[in-house]
């Protein structure tokens, strides 16, 4: 791109500024709006203090954070052994597992929640009516992202040799997975975990239509009476998600594509699975 003319440079500069304004101004407006004192004029941090002081909102934040943790744990506990097993002992099932993992991209969350009523009658019957029961359906929601991240990491290592070496030295399956394979795919696990956290903290559709008070549901509820607090909470979630993904991108520096981006693109299976990430 060293042949770029002055006009080209100017055009590029103008475009950067235009896009920058369009994307950053609303974020700036959120910061401005949430610190505005509607009653007396001037500035106040009351809306931001409400994140901890407002009981309902604080409870909702705690629930959403717990949901994020539970979702990540359950997702890893179920998906990591499954994906390793498929590669080692049940390669004939790889197509099915991949299809099922990517299926939530084609079935909108709104559709899932419409059909979920009967399922949740049973879940409530066995586990009680806690918002934390959303964990199960959230694991399904994060499957496509988590699958991509883990699949990339698993393709990059020689899984067969590693596990055969561990097994021939006397390690059981649990030790092989926990102490040999997992340390080798930590970047994939980190990507899967971070993206899952971002998904869960931002999820509104299923929680609101199932009647659970998660963070996003509470934000919308509060917004009807107290705009600045909702805007503050929204901005906090966006910034948190941004920091999470940026840290991830910087941690996986050196790879040509970061896990976050690979995992985020709902490309079809054939385009992503062959070949080792560079």
């Amino acid at each position: 791109m060293n042949r770029t003319s002055l006009g080209g440079k100017l055009l590029r500069g103008v475009l950067w500024v235009a896009f920058g304004l369009f994307f950053l101004f609303p974020l700036y407006a959120m910061a401005d709006f949430s610190t505005r004192n509607l009653l007396k004029g001037g500035r106040t941090l009351q809306a931001w203090k409400n994140l901890v002081q407002d009981d309902a909102l604080y409870q909702a934040i705690v629930i959403s954070l717990l949901l994020a943790v539970f979702t990540v744990v359950l997702m890893l506990v179920i998906l990591v052994p499954t994906m390793i097993w498929v590669r080692l002992r049940a390669p004939w099932a790889k197509g099915v597992i991949e299809f099922l993992c990517l299926l939530p991209l084609t079935i909108p969350a709104l559709v899932i929640v419409v059909g979920l009523r009967n399922v949740y009658l049973w879940v409530a019957y066995f586990l009680g009516e806690s918002a934390l029961t959303l964990t199960f359906v959230y694991v399904v929601l994060v499957l496509p992202f988590a699958y991509r991240a883990l699949d990339g990491a698993l393709s990059a290592i020689d899984l067969k040799t590693l596990s055969e070496a561990a097994r021939s030295l006397g390690a059981g399956w649990f030790a092989t997975i926990a102490r040999v394979v997992v340390p080798n795919i930590w970047s994939g696990i980190l990507s899967a975990a971070f993206i899952s956290i971002a998904v869960v903290l931002g999820e509104y559709t299923i929680a609101s239509l199932s009647g659970f008070q998660t963070l996003q549901v509470q934000i919308v509820l509060i917004g009807k009476a107290d705009g600045p607090t909702s805007v503050a909470a929204s901005l906090a979630v966006l910034v948190f998600g941004f920091v999470l993904l940026l840290v991830l991108a910087l941690l996986t520096r050196g790879r040509r594509r970061t896990g976050a981006i690979d995992a985020a693109v709902p490309a079809p299976t054939t385009a992503t699975q062959s070949g080792v990430p560079t």
Partner: protein
């Protein structure tokens, strides 16, 4: 055979979870769209052709279509800007991370971003009021279809960036050099080499954007608290008040309609991307 069964056992937790929380709800929707209380009936399906439902579908298509086109074009331009900056720069990573957040995890927050910007007391609204004396938020257009188009663009462009950057990165420098050494101008290179290679990826991405907007719920639901101008909001109305339109279980038929539209679009998307994958590896 026995071994195969034994090898399948470790997959059971995964299969059980996906079956209960993904397959069962989907099958429930499809089944309940045709069966009311266990009896086959086309009543719910025919309700899809009522004026309310058709109007919602049409507005959803309009919203998804327009934001897919705007998002695809502007997103492709932004993707080009990003790709022509150095690949290791922190700025580039920050821009991609921001795009990822806005495209996929924004939801409700984006509605509030625009309320804070061009809502009744929005920052930009007040500025424009002071400086020019115009009322930017006049007549509450932010809560109408026009408003939704603007807000949706805010997550469609970033999604386009995320999907299209890999395609642009797949264009090899050697191809440009080969074209230039054979005497092609920059315009010729773009028109004869780059554009044909990128067209399937571009169209595929536009389809993906369409499906994304069509199925999106959170942003619209947070912005429009009353009324149901688009399909997802009509589903909300049907779910939260069972008697809407005097028809219980109408939500199932609407959800089926959504599955069908999204599935058709995604199949077309997959076909197009497979074509791209042949070249841009």
């Amino acid at each position: 055979m026995g071994r195969r069964i034994r090898d399948t056992l470790p997959l059971l937790p995964f299969l059980a979870l996906v079956t209960i929380f993904l397959i069962v709800p989907t099958v429930t929707v499809i089944f309940s769209a045709f069966f009311a209380d266990g009896v086959f009936s086309l009543e719910r399906i025919t309700a899809l052709f009522s004026d309310t439902a058709l109007a919602a579908l049409w507005k959803s298509v309009l919203l998804s279509g327009s934001t897919a086109i705007i998002g695809a074009v502007l997103g492709a331009v932004l993707a080009w800007l990003i790709v022509s900056s150095p690949p290791t720069s922190v700025v580039r990573r920050a821009v991609i991370s921001l795009c990822s957040v806005l495209a996929q995890f924004g939801g409700v927050a984006l509605a509030f971003a625009f309320l804070a910007t061009i809502g009744l007391n929005g920052v930009l609204t007040l500025w424009v009021q002071q400086v020019f004396g115009w009322n930017l938020a006049g007549s509450g257009w932010l809560y109408s279809l026009t408003g939704l188009i603007v807000v949706y663009t805010y997550f469609q462009i970033p999604l386009m960036v995320i999907v299209f950057v890999p395609a642009l990165e797949g264009l090899r420098e050697q191809w440009r050099e080969a074209a230039v050494s054979l005497g092609a101008s920059r315009v010729q290179y773009f028109r004869e080499v780059a554009a044909p290679l990128l067209t399937p990826a571009f169209l595929g991405s536009a389809l993906l954007l369409f499906a994304n907007a069509f199925a999106a719920y959170a942003t619209a639901a947070a912005l429009v608290s009353q009324g149901s101008p688009i399909l997802p909001l009509l589903i909300r109305a049907a779910l939260t008040s069972e008697v809407v339109l005097g028809q219980s279980g109408f939500a199932y038929a609407l959800a089926l309609e959504m599955i069908v539209v999204v599935a058709v679009v995604m199949v077309a998307y997959n076909l197009l991307v497979r074509r791209t994958a042949r070249w841009l590896k």
